[in-house]
């Protein structure tokens, strides 16, 4: 039983990944050189993980000796990996932070296209959440504050105008579709 009591350490997160709905990597980071040292092994693991998780909306799975927590939306899958002795709720808090930060950065439009359009900011966010396996920040709004720098280039007034324009456009498109049917 003694082996279960791991050395107290801040190194909690083994990896984080965002995959698309074919299981291809959009972004992934592994923090422990001892697991999956090459990118080939990493991608095999990701494929395997994706195959086991993309249909079952189950939130948590044990795979290859790692505890993986996950969450999905439309065509994106978010994963956080930790050792099998790790506190699952800590991993979950990291996952929620990752998801919520991305969601806030993309203004609730969590899908593949939007992530790719703001890839630089999403990269910065991942870097702010976890540094070399240590949880740096687990509060989404504070992470976004540290990275979402472009939002402040648009003054608030213009932002609302831009948003209502989008609403107008989508209404137009919907009308088009209903006419086409």
């Amino acid at each position: 039983m003694d082996g279960q009591l791991a050395e107290p350490t801040l190194y909690t997160v083994k990896g984080m990944a965002i995959l698309d709905n074919d299981g291809n990597r959009i972004l992934a980071k592994y923090y422990d050189k001892n697991i999956f040292p090459t990118s080939k092994e990493q991608k095999t693991f990701e494929k395997n993980l994706f195959n086991k998780t993309h249909r079952a909306n189950a939130e948590i799975i044990m795979l290859d000796g790692l505890t993986c927590v996950y969450r999905s939306n439309v065509d994106l899958f978010f994963y956080v990996m930790g050792s099998s002795h790790e506190n699952e709720l800590i991993l979950m808090s990291v996952l929620n932070c990752l998801y919520d930060s991305v969601s806030q950065i993309l203004r609730k439009n969590v899908e593949r296209k939007a992530v790719l359009d703001s890839l630089d900011i999403v990269m910065l966010a991942m870097d702010e959440i976890c540094d070399g396996g240590i949880i740096l920040d687990a509060d989404a709004s504070s992470v976004v504050q540290r990275v979402a720098l472009r939002t402040d280039d648009i003054p608030l007034g213009e932002q609302t105008v831009a948003q209502s324009l989008i609403v107008l456009q989508s209404a137009k498109e919907q009308l088009k579709w209903s006419l086409l049917k």
Binding site: M1, D2, Q4, L5, A6, E7, P8, T9, L10, D20, D22, R25, L27, A28, K29, T38, S39, K40, Q42, K43, A56, N57, A58, E59, I60, I61, M62, V69, D75, N87, E88, L89, I90, L91, M92, S93, R112, K113, L116, D117, L119, D120, I121, M123, L124, D127, D131, G132, I134, I135, L136, D137, A138, D139, R146, V147, L149, R150, E173, K176
Partner: protein, 357 residues
Amino acid sequence: MNAFKRDKKEEEDGGGNPFQNLEKTTVLQEARTFNDTPVNPRKCAHILTKILYLLNQGEQLGTMEATEAFFAMTKLFQSRDVVLRRLVYLGIKELSSLAEDVIIVTSSLTKDMTGKEDLYRAAAIRALCTITDSGMLAAIERYMKQAIVDRSPAVSSAALVSSLHLTKVSGDVARRWANEAQEALNSNNVMVQYHALGVLYQARKADKHAVIKLVAKLMRTSPKSPYAACMLIRMACKLLDEVDKGEELLGFIETCLRHKSEMVVYEAAHALINLGRNCTKEITPAISVLQLFCGSQKPALRFAAVRTLNKVAMSHPTAVTACNLDLENLITDSNRSIATLAITTLLKTGAESSVDR
């Protein structure tokens, strides 16, 4: 109409990934734009994103290629664009292990880390520490000590986390900076408190008496940060393994069962069970907590609970019998891992009477 059709077509192709068919050589060629003056922030940020994306996809860069890209990137320090600067920090971290002579950016980073812009400072510290070797450590030591006690939580956390990484470069970094970490431990920010505790433990872990003192002091005030509380529980467990009398430590872990954060409650229950003590009295409260968690809405919590019960069922099957009904409910759980764990646990504790149900 045409635009509409094109959108749809793109969607079928896989959403039109702008990064899909990137060629390493082309992107590295594009990186020459970095040498232009004045710097075009948007364009350069996009190219840098492409390089970072390629690296993230597992693309291998030779030493020459990496060094060339790295040196081109250093030119971007001329720009004051925040996103671009932050991407440069990221680039420095990614390329630091591949490129040669990366210490060239030391002075630029030191300037940023001591500058006024908080958004630069934290990220600059983290980038600087990835390129620091044992020879350079003395040169940045003064700045690092200052950063640890900085009033900005981002800066303080960045410095604390970096000093833990630097332990690989020089073993006694944490010990030399322990006084500052001690001060950071009093921070109101939950993450700073957590990181400071990590550094302090790293500094003192070789000295059992120092750890006992640290734990005893923190147990009295009980850290505000749930992450720090989890870390403290782990430290207490480690001590319990080594010292003979540990009534106080054990008592502390038990009070954590009533913490307001589920994370800490679970950590405490998990700890009590894994201590490997043979006394049923100690694990009973932990088991009742886990029993409650079995009925939680959150799959992760149910998983955590049943996984721990599964373990304790091996040594104390009778203590787990109380949870049999809850475990039976989990057999049909939509998460297969939870269902499997519930079944194997029941196999250890179940009696004939439950087979019928």
